[in-house]
């Protein structure tokens, strides 16, 4: 199998949230990103954060379904990580002279822009979730994140039946929606 075919398989695994694929991604590309960060005024912890963010961008791309890998995955990952890291350094107002790249680079501006937007929305939802209060937060998380069935949720939360739990869930959802839009409309 060619590297490109292997990369495509790996991406399918990432899209399916398969742990082994994520592990493989770490094993194949983590050290490269770490070297780049450490060589450019970063710590190993920075590298870990940066790699996570890079994988998330990759995940967002493959999830969106329009991702056609046109270069090696390695090159793509390096380009994303590199761009993100430079942006971080600029934010910290530090000067670095990155004279030569350790690896090939492809343009990834659009990917990063898209990620910033998604991340922004994610944070607003995260904040709304934090503000919605209990038992709403746990109830919504049980249903939307853990994908639990309404009857299970009713049992766990002590509602007499699934319908009551469902009514409660919708009340919570309306509250969450208000909190979400209060922030969303302010910042968009």
């Amino acid at each position: 199998m060619s590297t490109l075919e292997q990369d495509k398989l790996l991406l399918e695994g990432i899209a399916a949230e398969d742990r082994n694929s994520i592990e493989l991604l770490y094993k194949q590309h983590y050290n490269m990103v770490q070297s780049m960060v450490v060589a450019n005024a970063g710590s190993k912890d920075d590298a870990a954060d940066l790699f996570q963010e890079t994988v998330i961008i990759l995940y967002e791309k493959v999830k969106a379904g329009d991702f056609e890998l046109t270069c090696l995955l390695k090159t793509f990952i390096y380009s994303i990580a590199n761009r993100l890291w430079l942006k971080k350094l600029q934010k910290q107002q530090r000067f670095t002279t990155q004279t030569d790249y350790l690896e090939d680079i492809v343009p990834v501006e659009d990917e990063i822009e898209q990620h910033v937007k998604l991340n922004h929305d994610f944070e607003i939802m995260e904040t709304a979730m934090a503000k919605v209060g209990e038992p709403c937060k746990s109830l919504l998380q049980a249903y939307y994140l853990q994908k639990k069935h309404m009857t299970t949720i009713a049992e766990e939360f002590g509602y007499t039946n699934a319908d009551n739990a469902k009514t409660q869930k919708y009340k919570c959802l309306v509250r969450l929606k208000k909190l979400f839009f209060a922030q969303y409309k302010n910042t968009n």
């Binding site: 983590y30 944070e123 939307y144």
Partner: protein
Amino acid sequence: MEDTLLMDAAERFIRGEMSAEEKIYFDDLRKNNQELDQTVVEQIFFLNQLNTYSTSKNFKTILCEVESKLIAEKVISKTIATPNGKIITLWKKYKNDIAVAASIAGIVSLFITTIISSVNKTQNNLEPLVKKLNAQADKTRKIETKLNQLQAGTSISLKQPLDARFRATGFMIDATNNYVATNAHVVKEASNHLIVENTKGEQFVATPVYINVAQDLAIIKIVDTAFKKLPLMPYTIRKTVADLGESIFMMGYPKQEIVYGEGYVSAKNGYQMDTLFYQINTTANEGNSGSPILTKNGDLIGIITSKEIDANGVVFAIKSANIYSAIEEIKKDEKIKIQSSPALKGLDRVTQIKKLQQYVFMIKGN
């Protein structure tokens, strides 16, 4: 139609769970009622956002778990090299998210970030700045060499004052082995150097040995050979929870000199009922992160971490019992022991402060 009912309808609509008949009815309703249609559009948008959020959140969780597993298996390494070669980091999550979420959620950490090597507006200043940074890089190298020498048993200390990028507070918890407690978010700021500064303005090199992000607790060790050991600590660190209404005082560095403050324990739980923290009614400012909170008898009960943005006098502090669990963790690899005497008991406040202040340090770094 009630909002909740409409939400139910919107959700079933997205998921394609509506019967053909119901769908026709729903479509009709939307066509004939613009306002309702607007609400439905909003709800569909919101539900899609929630689904994206859920998928993303789940993926991030998996990602963190995989990372932890690989770190445990030593496939990837994450910790910074220290003289002793090890930092205990108990908890790692998608850090940026948390920091941002926490700040939007209405609490703010209390440390000062003063970027000394900042970009100036005029072009002229650019060049010396770069030089400065190069000088900094040199210093880093020197210190690294020093750290290596330390392992070989030679001396380690700063030759010149540090160009600090942030300032916060910390205090001694083991005067025999020179361990200082502060906040995890403070230590995380230090990507190159970490120092403690006493009330005399003397700076000493320190290194992190324990970072617990969930508790926002960090323990650092003063490794500087120029540091002179302090006598036995005059305060005790309390293992039990403080009482509601107990009056407290604290010392910290919201400015370049030590500042005294007073208050009381206003709630036994922190932000959003977090049981690891107290809520304290007092005034705290940037730089107070890591400040010790003591009772009138010199019993240390907590460490200042953050305050609520839009409320006055609502400050959060880590409960002191967490220090003990941290020490248990560190003990596995290092010598550490809390030895103290209740020497502050019964003294007037001015004398207490005089005795206490040499154990409270400014934490700086870059």
